[in-house]
């Protein structure tokens, strides 16, 4: 549901752009970006194997 939710938020943003609700489109888009950032942080739990 994580990625599906993000794409649905973008779909809502697209609908708001189409119907000229500029502030709502910006708001939903920024919320989607913040949630995407949180998801990225969650996926960062895999350590990068750096060998020196």
């Amino acid at each position: 549901m994580d990625m599906l939710g993000l794409f649905i938020l973008l779909l809502i943003t697209w609908i708001f752009i189409l119907y000229k609700k500029r502030n709502l489109a910006l708001l939903i888009g920024i919320i989607a970006l913040i949630l995407g950032g949180l998801l990225l942080i969650h996926h960062m739990n895999t350590p990068i194997p750096i060998t020196l």
């Binding site: 649905i8 996926h43 750096i50």
Partner: protein, 210 residues
């Protein structure tokens, strides 16, 4: 560049060029997404969660460009697109770092010598540069020009973004359903089944090499 005595004709011309470039960028971004669909459907490469996040960033950047096209060119919409493209850059850098170390498994077939996430990194970098150049070329009075109705070229960009968005929703639904997206197995099933079917055949074939 920011001449205060600029004529309205020059402003209108600059506005139309900026909107044309934003629409062109949307088409290019959706072309990249269509290429990733080609890899997914015809080469049976299942997308990983980081791949989906990069697609999300591509679509978000296109949304910023569409806002410019729909509401008129404004710096806040360019900033919106920039945020998404920087986010995409971070995601693709993360994936490059994951697979760059020796001994760590490879993911995905290379396209023209580079993995898809490396190409995504280059494209996001180009998008960031493009947006910065557009910001340099903007004018404070440009934001006062009212937006006319969309032409067929801009309507096409809107429809293409919607189709790519719906395609991603369907793809994510079939991949993850309503659950948390897990990492995709590598190599994909197509290659595994080829090996298995060769071993099971009455001729006892063996495919050498990976």
């Amino acid at each position: 560049m920011n001449d205060p005595n600029i004529s309205i004709e020059k402003l209108r011309k600059r506005n139309s060029i900026l909107l044309f470039l934003e629409t062109l960028m949307t088409y290019c971004l959706m072309g990249v997404l269509l290429a990733s669909f080609h890899e997914e459907i015809f080469k049976q490469e299942r997308p990983c969660p980081l791949c989906y996040l990069q697609r999300f960033a591509f679509l978000g950047t296109a949304m910023g460009a569409l806002m410019n096209v729909r509401f008129g060119f404004k710096t806040k919409y360019v900033a919106f697109a920039l945020l998404f493209s920087v986010f995409g850059n971070i995601v693709s850098t993360r994936q490059i770092l994951l697979h760059i170390c020796p001994g760590f498994p490879k993911f995905g077939y290379p396209v023209f010598g580079f993995s898809l996430f490396t190409w995504a990194y280059f494209i996001f970098a180009v998008v960031v540069l493009t947006q910065v150049i557009l910001l340099f070329w903007t004018h404070p009075k440009l934001q006062e020009i009212p937006r006319n109705a969309l032409n067929w070229w801009e309507k096409g960009a809107f429809i293409l973004v919607l189709l790519c968005l719906l395609g991603n929703i369907v793809s994510t639904f079939f991949e993850c359903g309503f659950h948390y997206c897990e990492d995709a197995p590598w190599p994909p099933k197509r290659q595994e089944s080829l090996h298995e079917s060769a071993k099971k055949s009455p001729l006892n074939l063996e495919i050498k090499g990976e």
